[in-house]
């Protein structure tokens, strides 16, 4: 959603009724609050499974309009953190604020209202196998809006085009798609409601470097054209350097460091050194710092 910043309208008398169906226009000068509020703010998050705690005193902010990459070793709790962010899981302790609203205080209706503003792709796509791609994209629209079926089909087709899928993919079933198309279709479903926040769990996993690169381009393009805030967890160093405005490094059960990829690549913490200066990281860091 692109919020308008309107010029101050001149002071004029209220409009006379035009034809009888005219309703007063909204006050176009009202400032949009969304820009002032952090999409996601997590404070003092503690997540435990039995005796094992994977997050302890974790703080994380996601800023409006940025692409934040969440990185860290396998099993450090990236996916769990993302699930807590999108109200699919609740931390053992700590506060999660979504668009300024306290997640704990939300009832189911409130949570659903927030979920409409968040688009999600899961690690394995999680497209509904029994539905075609177009039907998959239409599911949130059918459930959350009262739009007529024709218009929903129209919107679904547009989303398909936005993620770079050919129109004839609309009638295909997820099992008929290649890995890359599958990811794109999942992204199209995440975009169905034109979310303010896009949460991508390992978007490039299972793709070849070319396909992963194309997906990175797509995320960048969507971010620019739609102005959507993106949070993605990733292992892919290329994607990290290419896409992320900011990187949050998850280690020692908290956010060990945040910053641009270039900033984090020169940090001294052993975990960060291992990640950025390890055999695979070093080459990437050199290449990107040179380029």
């Amino acid at each position: 959603m692109v919020a308008a910043s309107m010029p101050t309208s001149p002071a004029v008398p209220p409009s006379p009724t035009l034809t009888g169906w005219s309703t007063p226009l909204p006050n176009a000068t009202a400032p949009t609050l969304a820009s002032a509020v952090l999409p996601v703010a997590m404070r003092g998050i503690r997540t435990c499974f039995g005796a094992a705690c994977i997050h302890e005193g974790l703080d994380l902010d996601v800023r409006q309009g940025e692409i934040l990459a969440l990185v860290g070793a396998s099993g450090c709790g990236k996916s769990v953190l993302l699930r807590e962010m999108i109200l699919l899981a609740h931390p053992t302790a700590g506060r999660v604020l979504l668009f300024g609203e306290e997640a704990q205080d939300l009832d189911e209706t409130g949570a659903n209202r927030l979920r409409q503003r968040i688009g999600i792709t899961f690690q394995h796509g999680a497209l509904f196998n029994s539905l075609t791609v177009a039907e998959n994209i239409a599911v949130p629209l059918k459930e959350q809006t009262r739009l007529p079926a024709r218009q929903i089909r129209d919107i679904a087709m547009l989303k398909l085009l936005l993620v770079g899928l050919p129109p004839d993919a609309a009638s295909k079933y997820p099992s008929q798609l290649s890995g890359g198309m599958h990811k794109r279709a999942a992204l199209a479903r995440a975009l169905a409601m034109d979310p303010d926040l896009l949460v991508l769990d390992e978007p490039g996993t299972g793709l070849d470097p070319v396909g992963a690169g194309a997906l990175d381009d797509l995320v960048l393009g969507l971010h620019q054209s739609l102005g959507v805030t993106v949070v993605m967890s990733t292992h892919d160093l290329d994607s990290l350097w290419r896409v992320a405005d900011r990187v949050a490094f998850l280690g020692r059960r908290r956010i060990l460091a945040t910053g641009t990829p270039a900033e984090l690549s020169v940090r001294e913490e052993p975990e960060l050194v291992a990640f950025f200066q390890g055999p695979r990281g070093a080459a990437r860091s050199r290449a990107w710092n040179r380029g």
């Binding site: 034809t19 909204p26 176009a28 009202a30 936005l162 129109p167 034109d194 739609l226």
Partner: protein, 412 residues
Amino acid sequence: MSPSRPEALVPGHGQAAPTDGPRLLWSPDGSTLLVSGHWTTLTLADLAGMPPRPDLGSARGGEIAVPQPEAGSSPPLAEPLNLDGRGLLALDTAGALQLHRLTEAFALQGLAVQLSGFTAPHLSLLALVRERLAAAAEDLAALRPNPAPPVLARVGQGAWERMGEGLGLLSFLGETALAFPRVLAHPGRLRWRQILQVVELDGWRALPVLGMLSFLVGVVIAYQSGVQLRLYGGNLYVVDLVTLTVLRELGPLMTAIVVAGRSGSAYAAQIGTMMVTDEIDALRSIGVSPLELLVLPKALGLILALPLLTVFANLAAVMGGMVMSALMLDLVPETFIRRIPEAVTLNTLMTGLAKAPVFAAAIAIVGCFQGFLVRDGADSVGRHTTTAVVQAIVWVIVIDAAFSVVYSKLGI
């Protein structure tokens, strides 16, 4: 482009609409259409029903073509039409698509549309939508919804699919039958652990539910026949009726139906899920035959377990009959038991028990076969699991009828 906003359209201060929903308003001279409010996915439905209608793009003949200026003033539409976005509070791709369709509808009427007053982000979003649709225009035009096939074609296809499935079941039966002697020739390859597991899961664990059901069936038979027999004073013959029907027919049949529901579904679901997660292919790639690992142990285990279950069900049903007889017909259990050898012979028991292994094989094979038919996805697993149960029960009853025919021919 109008240099200044038409006075009549300027929002009154402090009287924001309750929803800030999407609005389209005509200027009095009909030259400008003012776009205002939130044009987003969630609010867009509020536009429906207001002129102009959202289905404008298609509705040229019937419903509503292009919104006309109010009836009183009849100035012709100025060319080009001005779409004024100054009142637009928010726009997302769905809203942009709606506006795009609106301009398309005007274009169909031969009206050029000029945009004015839109912010740069809104303009770029509109441009994005326009470009994407234009780039794919050819492909979109080539898309044709598949017409629903005629009835005859559907009937034919359905019959063809049924036949394919029937042949598949037949060849699966053949494969399994061929695998039997192969494995029996090398008993070391027999997977005893799996077989015993089947005996435990599908035999031992079924005892409570089977026992209860059979007991109740015994009660019912004793009651129904007791009501009639009492009229003739033939109370004692309730023993004959209960034991004969149970041992020959109802014991094996009830057991098979309960097991078909419990285990046939489980087999289909297990194998089906393994199909979805490629585990079956993984087994093949390791050089393990899914038939030997999954199907044979199930079939063998069930062939062992079902006769045992049948004996148990027979016992429970006769017990039920005995209890009911004692309560209703004052037939003391001692008399009841003493009468049994006169009513039935070992032969009666064996004719019933002989069916059990055949039922077991049918249940296991139909269940496993349906599991292997699963393709991509959870709902496929569900459908084939249901089919497995239904088909297994159908086969059990068909086989039972076949046995009856054979027995009557043989005079058993």
